[in-house]
């Protein structure tokens, strides 16, 4: 089930919220959330629900044992057990096929490749559970004595299948007791509606342009043009941010509606001035996971320059791999390693020197990110090279009237999509609210509030219209 589906909105979320608000007891509320979360997860195929439950059981057990024992070696042994099980399972379900495919390419063995279906959200909930046990090991959080609460934490439908990767310590106290006030619900409603509109209207609209002008299958590339590829990839660049951040918006919004306060996962990444800055703003929960659970334990930057770069290389190779079992994702991770290393060595300081270099820094960052998305989009290497050649006029004719027509036909839509990826709207809203609040002009104040009050319902209606009859609707990050 995806958030941006009529079934989810009207047949799942509506009754879930209704039942939730009818109940006052926190335990009963948790059970309501758990039951709905398990239904939500099982909707994509109940077979893998078992895997989720097993991972939770192992994590619950290891965390408790780590807490119980006073022997550091035993603590470590339980932690290793947790990591082996979690990484082992994610390897089997996500990477084993890829590994076997590579073996077959090199050694001609195995003859038959295993067909393993990727369980939805495995990368997200596995990482959440690892972070939980590691945090218990580090003494940063207490182990949860109740299994169902660990299961609730990992399976909570807000973030279980497409993030953000919520740390247990972020929600530990809220699982045991949380308050929901009008502000929380109103903010949650607004955030959910904005996310839904971002996905259903903007991301899906951008996807239609990207798929048309920059198709991913080589067989569909007979009629592409250089200008179309640039434009299509630009649309994809907008789509991937709008799509993924929309999911996080909806997750954060639904969390707030029931009293959970998840951390932000995006901070307008396309405003970044350097690649390093971009990664501080993009998929923050993943970057911080790798920082806290891989980079720092490896020694971070404390063990000399050589080791620092090695650590960075490991982290970025893993970041790439996390996004998918395909070489293009690994190259994508390493591609970022190169730029991050360059910034560490020389570029970082240069780009911060003055206003001109800062502007150049933005341009450079956007270009790096743009070509990063080209690498990211094409799992088929032949299609990737054909696209790159086409973009630089080597493979296909550069211009075609359909590219111009697509641009003219969608010009207002694109302007809105571009505005949506920058903080202009947010800043304007904050400014107007502050001004009307300060000036005490009630006409303006009330006008602002009316707009704020009507916007979520209006966006919901527009999103529903966009979703009815729309065939393109998957969330890009479901595959991870």
């Amino acid at each position: 089930m995806v958030f941006s589906s009529l079934l989810f909105i009207f047949a799942f979320l509506a009754p879930q919220l209704l039942i939730y608000y009818l109940i006052r007891d926190i335990k009963a509320r948790n059970i309501v959330l758990l039951v709905f979360s398990l239904i939500f997860y099982a909707w994509g195929g109940p077979m893998y629900l078992l895997l989720l439950v097993i991972e939770c059981a192992v994590s619950w057990l290891t965390a408790r044992e780590i807490e119980k024992t006073s022997f550091p070696k035993m603590k470590k042994a339980w932690l290793i057990l947790e990591c082996v099980v979690m990484i082992g399972l994610i390897f089997i379900f996500k990477y084993f096929g890829f590994f076997a495919w590579n073996l077959q390419k090199i050694f001609g063995w195995p003859e038959v490749l295993p067909e393993i279906i990727l369980p939805i959200g495995i990368s997200f909930y596995t990482f959440q559970l690892i972070s939980y046990v590691v945090d218990v090991y580090r003494g940063e959080v207490e182990a949860q004595p109740r299994f169902y609460k660990v299961l609730l934490y990992a399976s909570l439908f807000h973030q279980c299948i497409a993030g953000p990767i919520v740390r247990y310590k972020t929600v530990a106290s809220e699982i045991d007791g949380r308050e929901v006030n009008t502000k929380d619900i109103a903010e949650g409603v607004r955030r959910f509606a904005v996310g839904l509109a971002k996905k259903a209207i903007l991301a899906n609209g951008c996807a239609a342009i990207a798929d048309k002008l920059a198709p991913t299958a080589l067989a569909d590339m007979g009629s592409v043009h250089g200008a179309g590829l640039w434009f299509g990839m630009f649309a994809y660049m907008l789509q991937i941010y709008l799509d993924f951040s929309a999911y996080s918006d909806m997750a954060i919004g639904m969390g707030r509606m029931v009293g959970f306060h998840y951390l932000e996962n995006f901070d307008y990444p396309y405003t970044a001035g350097t690649v390093q800055d971009f990664w501080r703003r993009w998929h923050i929960s993943l970057s911080t996971f790798f920082r806290d659970y891989v980079y720092i334990p490896l020694g971070g930057s404390r063990k000399g320059q050589g080791r620092t770069y090695l650590n960075l290389l490991i982290v970025w190779a893993l970041t790439g791999m996390w996004h998918g079992a395909s070489w293009n994702y690994i190259f994508w991770g390493l591609y970022y390693f190169v730029f991050l290393a360059l910034e560490r060595l020389i570029l970082g300081d240069l780009l911060k020197k003055n206003t001109i270099t800062k502007v150049l820094g933005h341009v450079y960052t956007l270009l790096v990110v743009f070509f990063g998305w080209v690498l990211f989009r094409y799992t088929d290497t032949a299609a990737l090279f054909a696209t790159l050649k086409g973009m630089f006029g080597a493979e296909y004719k550069f211009f075609s009237p359909d590219v111009g027509s697509t641009f003219i036909n969608n010009i207002f839509f694109l302007i809105i999509a571009v505005i949506a990826v920058f903080p202009l709207g947010k800043k304007l809203r904050t400014l107007l609210r502050q001004e009307t609040w300060r000036s005490k002009k009630y006409v303006l104040f009330n006008a602002m509030n009316v707009i704020d009050a009507v916007t979520p319902a209006a966006l919901m209606l527009l999103s529903v219209l966009a979703l009815v009859g729309n065939s393109y609707n998957p969330f890009l990050y479901f595959q991870f």
Binding site: W43, I185, G222, I411, D452, A453
Partner: protein, 473 residues
Amino acid sequence: MDNEVTRKQKKLTLFFRTLSIMLFALTLLAGFILGCVLYSLRPEKSELENRDLTEFPKFTAESFLSGDYTSGISTWYADTFPFREGMVKAEWGIQKCYGFRKDSISAVRDGDEVPDIEDLLSSMEEETSQEATSSETEPPTESAEPTETEESTTEVVETVPESIDGEAMYKLNPQEAGEVNVKDLVGYCVYGFNKKAADQYAIHVGNVANALQDQARVFELLIPNNSGILLDDETKAEWRLLDEKKVIKYFTAMTWQQSQLVKYVNIYDILTEHKDEYLYFKTDHHWTQLGAYYAYVRFCEEAGITPHALTDYKEVDSGPFLGSYYKTNGYAQLADNPDNCYGYEPIATNEFSFYDRDAKTMRNGKLVRNMSEFDITLKYQGFIYGDTAYSEAHNPNLSDGSCCIVVKESFGNCFAPFLIDHYQTLIVIDYRYNTDSLVELAENYDHPDIIFCNNLEAISDLYVMEQLGGVCH
């Protein structure tokens, strides 16, 4: 004072927050009631998209475990959501505001020239003229082995694919590539040639002609797309459209290779002559009945029949029409330039009987009916009730045993009614919904005329050609 104002502001803020939550909750509640309670409002058919909507999935342990069952429920829930059609139309209205949507060039067909078949055509003409001489003494017979000429022409044709710009030219799945461009608020088909489908078409038509030999006359009437007839050369070049006249020549040459008994009805030239008239709809991929009338005139010439003048018919005005380019391709801007659907009632009779696509009983209806009371998007169904599997009409003024069988896809719907005035029996077969043997059917009548009446885009689909093969036996 300041504190009082702040309290007022806080109160107002709380009020508006509550209002926001209430509005959101009401929207959710309305959606919940519509989607989960009012089951009877769920539509089963989409008239807008001319298809049956998704059915509720059947439960099996296997489909449940694999997730197919729940995925089926999700699809069913969205596909049959109450008031879906209205919402889709509203969404199109919104999408009109996405940009300046007067012209929409969504596709440009890559590919160069249609195979140069001049050699084959001259052989064909030569052979036809020789046959015309010899046929006076000898009836045409099916050649068990290819003649020398055939061998040499086959060679020419087999080299054809290499002369075309690679596989991109040949749409393996033309339904996916059924692209439409909009220019000056008129939709145009961006036609792509599919050689495999063309060759299959020729084989099927030829097989029928060969099987029936002198028991029937077989005509091939190939209908060009609106873009092939109406667009100026500059736009055709800009969109890299194929020369449909050449495409038609290729079809006829291929058919001729299969059977020299097939008579080709050239309608391209007469449609071009009348291109300033209302031959094609602006919002739909079909031709108008006026376009079909000119094809009928050309057919009559080939068949040795005297056609009726257009003024002989009673005109039926079904009013404004928004067709497939609007409703299926979603070019909402076409609503600003709607069509008008006119029909011409046959003179001898307007009555006919038909089997619907899946119905087992025969129903009666009008060959051309007034659709002004129907939805604006359904007007083309005024011709022989749309795509019915099998239709039959009888001319009460004739008793000569004459029969005409039209083998068609939807373009034939507005062509077929003209024929009832010249034959005792008119049979129309839509091969997409019918698998009965055409040869056996024809054998029930005395020297019927069989007309393969099809649009180029429609027959560029391998699956559709498979369906045609299903009746051509």
